[in-house]
């Protein structure tokens, strides 16, 4: 099959997932002639409270410039190839992210719902464990702590 169409982006500023998806649709429709029959999306937003239950002032997202982008590309390529997806999108915030703001958007377009759903879910888990991002929680009083694991499924 043709190489999957990838849109991978680190977002240093707040982004609107539905606008990102609209731009992706337009680009895909141009590239493919029509949108594939099945499409899955996932949006993750910053929670209002820290892992220990205190009100969160902000989440800081550190990454490893160069390696983070390369890993996202490699994982998107691998997941799309494994599941036979047509196109994959991953947009991920870096820097200081406020409660309620989108932090990650994953989208997969495929010919059937199974590949679209499975590829999206696999990619979401992979970027939680296999891409160098680190979250630091900032509280209102200026204390901060690094998050040591991911939220449970």
């Amino acid at each position: 099959m043709a190489a999957p169409w990838r849109s991978i982006r680190l977002e240093p500023e707040p982004f609107e997932p539905l606008q990102a998806l609209a731009a992706w649709h337009a680009a895909l429709a141009t590239a493919l002639g029509a949108l594939p029959a099945a499409e899955s999306h996932f949006i993750g937003r910053v929670r209002p409270s820290s892992a220990s239950g205190e009100p969160l002032a902000a989440l800081e997202l550190e990454h490893y410039p160069g390696m983070t982008e390369a890993q996202l590309q490699a994982l998107a390529q691998a997941a799309a190839a494994q599941h036979g997806a047509t196109a994959v999108l991953v947009h991920h915030r870096v820097g200081r992210v406020l409660p309620g703001e989108p932090i990650v958007l994953v989208a997969v377009a495929a010919d059937r719902r199974g590949p679209a759903l499975r590829c999206g879910q696999e990619l979401l888990e992979a970027l939680k464990h296999e891409v160098p991002f680190w979250k630091r929680e900032w509280l209102a009083d200026g204390r901060s702590s690094w998050v040591t694991g991911n939220t449970p499924l």
Binding site: M67, H129, T148
Partner: protein
């Protein structure tokens, strides 16, 4: 042992070591150029040479929560290091 700046005379004998997030905060530095002492240097050897592990950690014992990247790709603790490599120690990842 540690080289704070590249030595112009022999840049190819060095490895760039990078720390991130909690590991950088704990050690107080983010990047160092380290001269390769032996031809068989590994990430684990440099980890101990730079004093990154707790004192009670044995020299053959890699930390279980930290991962290694060489030239921005995940690598093993006993992978061979080449002069000019970029070596990074990565504390537990929390993306998504």
């Amino acid at each position: 042992m540690l080289q704070p700046l590249p030595t112009a005379a022999e840049p190819t004998q060095q490895v760039r070591v990078r720390l991130f997030a909690s590991l950088r905060d704990a050690m107080g530095w983010s990047e160092q150029l380290v001269r390769l002492e032996t031809a068989t240097a590994t990430p684990l050897a440099l980890w101990h040479q730079l004093g990154l592990g707790p004192e009670h950690q044995g020299p053959d014992e890699p930390p279980t929560e930290v991962r290694v990247a060489i030239n921005q790709q995940f690598a093993a603790w006993d992978a061979p290091l080449q002069a000019g490599d970029e070596l990074a120690f990565l504390p537990p990842i929390s993306g998504g």
